[in-house]
Symmetry: C2
Subunit: 485 residues, 2 copies
Amino acid sequence: MFLAGLALYAQQPESSSAVHSYINQNQPMILHEFEQLLAIPNIASDTPNIEKNAALLLQMLEKRGLKAELLRVENAPPAILAQGTADPALHTVTFYAHYDGQPVQKADWKQDPWQPTIVPGATIADQRIYARSASDDKAAIVGLISALDALKSTNKRPSVNIKFLFEGEEEAGSPHLEQILSRYHEKLQSDLFVICDGPIYQNGQPDLMFGSRGVVTVQITAFGPNRPLHSGHYGNWAPNPIVELADLLTKLRNTEGEILIPHFYDPVRPLSALEKDALQKLPDLDGQLKNDFAIGRTEGRGKLPEEIMKPGLNLDRIEGGGSGPNPANAIPSSATAYIDFRLVPNQTPAIVKQQLKAYLQQLGYFVVDRPPTVTERLQQAKILQVRWGAGYPPQRTALDAPVSQAFIRAARTVAGDSLVLMPTLGGSTPSFLFEQQFNQPVIGLPIANFDNNQHAANENIKLENLWRGIELYSGIYAHLGEFWR
Amino acid sequence: MFLAGLALYAQQPESSSAVHSYINQNQPMILHEFEQLLAIPNIASDTPNIEKNAALLLQMLEKRGLKAELLRVENAPPAILAQGTADPALHTVTFYAHYDGQPVQKADWKQDPWQPTIVPGATIADQRIYARSASDDKAAIVGLISALDALKSTNKRPSVNIKFLFEGEEEAGSPHLEQILSRYHEKLQSDLFVICDGPIYQNGQPDLMFGSRGVVTVQITAFGPNRPLHSGHYGNWAPNPIVELADLLTKLRNTEGEILIPHFYDPVRPLSALEKDALQKLPDLDGQLKNDFAIGRTEGRGKLPEEIMKPGLNLDRIEGGGSGPNPANAIPSSATAYIDFRLVPNQTPAIVKQQLKAYLQQLGYFVVDRPPTVTERLQQAKILQVRWGAGYPPQRTALDAPVSQAFIRAARTVAGDSLVLMPTLGGSTPSFLFEQQFNQPVIGLPIANFDNNQHAANENIKLENLWRGIELYSGIYAHLGEFWR
């Protein structure tokens, strides 16, 4: 399909004008391949279709002369590994993306989620393609492969050995990724892992992510009487678990986001000068976001990017006294808070668990990890049940590491001064798995527009973001090795 | 039906031995009448059956030579008023009870709730009759009427003019009681109102209640972003409404039941010497109740009866962040606490509302009584939505009032030193309505066993409690006027 006017899509830095021309001329072919991939349903649990996705990806990769193979572990969608002939003089970089997508609620979509549809926007730059995984994460896959073609058209060779790793169950929580990385450790060896997933900064400029926060969840339950008691007959006397829990929460964290658990911040690695500098230089979007979310104040003193550099203690849910239209006037038997901790280097889930336990005991609580027995309830004045959920550690690659500096310089050959440097993603990703398995750095390189409806109905990517993404990938291929010594 | 052994039911004070003999000899007849009444379904909204209850009650009352009539207001079950020929030289006392019952979940019952069933206990004193309203409140009705017969059998006349008022929708919240009292004000004029409802003290001894606490409910909602936000990307920055709410709760009330709202206790009428003395003399059941409820501590420093003499701020429910198996790791849009205040003289719902509002404003909150607008959310740092529910004031009759002292002496002719004097019920009843409409004292005179499964499945009354109740009522009829000058 020919899309008039797409050639106008961007002001290009000079260094990539040849790549830019290639993209301009080949948009129909790239879109055709993208649409073919988007047309195959890709829920991780839909094995026949997942295998069709994998087969098409193998074919796309082999067409480029790459050696491609399926990495299989039991009861999991295959991951796809592809690579060219390696030059031992060059660094090796694995670019990771995933080809599976979030489940869909078809009724919420304006179209079939697997019938990719191009919708014109108010401006050419706002033209979008709608489909499940359009942005998360098939655009990255098509972009990474097309960037190889674009670079080849300029007769320039990549400056690093390139591997692609495409996972098939990221949206199901990557339950087998650790096993895949471990079983195929040799084949996946690299000097750097690049995570091509997620949206770019809210100002629309390309960005690099140098890590993500860890996470660990916990449920804390306070107890009252063994059955709800009439609040008139027993209030003021039978301990109220909601009051107990509220009191505890204010001792864990204040309304400015500061965590009050002793020594909690001790393991936190201070920001480096470069990280501080990067934060300073980030475009200030606080006003725009406060407006968007209708909030009249923010917690903490810093702007959003500064605040998410810190560890966090988030209250995700609280419940006690049942639900439904009419609460009984009764003292409930228990009340529960659902918390997630966000962790930064060098915190770990194990350290946080130990710190919280010690603090709760210091506050005089008797702590159990299952419902208290009657004897315990009778003998202990203050009991908490503490149930830890899943968790994993943070990962952050130093901004002043040679590989980071080289990566930034390579990206700037395309993005120029607009490049946004994020020392960490606020959210949590399993990027630590790569760091842990290979003891090598990890950098995040997203291309999708911020407003892509990721995980929701009417997922989309701006075509502009795909074209700029291909250029960015080409720039990294071409120049990373030059700057990385 | 003949129940062997029931004659052994209690050690009787001498004063009522004639009444005691009457009851012993007439148990089968009393039970027969009780069972007939219990056999008619009595949910306030079940009009045909409610009318059958009323018709049977009219018949029972007229059989005793009383003038009985139905007091009707629109769309409400009839109340029944009955009285004999009044002696203008005597005080007039209205004994109130209700003939409707709580709705039933038949599946939870061991039998049909309207097929009264006598079940033998481990001892004769534990023999019970099971049926809806067996204790709450048809036992009181049958007891009040049978006490007339018992007194008559001794050839003694009541020492006061007796009226009976039997309400038909107490368990639906008495929505028309105020209207009934107002419309039939003249007919209902009395010097004292006696509320024959509720269970007796947990030690099983008869008790008198000299008031009940008032109540007013309120929902308080704190706000975060206008939609749930990813806690990794926005935590520490977007205000967390659960944290805000927990912080507020600790400023309203501490874990010892003390209310921190300025001037909250100012209107509280100090306990009189007699009230303090009555509290001192109450049997100490704290240990037994802590065991029963499996609690290792109590709030406050006082024993249960002392604590419920104070006003209370009870957390009945808290919610925020949804429900279901897996909480999202997200900052919720709002969090809500459901509170009930219990009030004592001379507090009123109006005073509490004003105090809370002033305090919230002093704490820096912008307070609204409906969801805040977008403009308000953007302009105000801290917003609370405060929604008041229904409420009514407390009622308490002074222990040292002549009527109270006379009532105690009259009750002691039957109960002797075992009589328990409760300066107030912890719960809330509309006893203030009688005080307010007639400007006359109100005293509570319960007879049901504490463990009667009131409002629940398998409601029951110990037969022992019915027999002792009849004696107690007879004693009041016979002696109240003698002591009340």
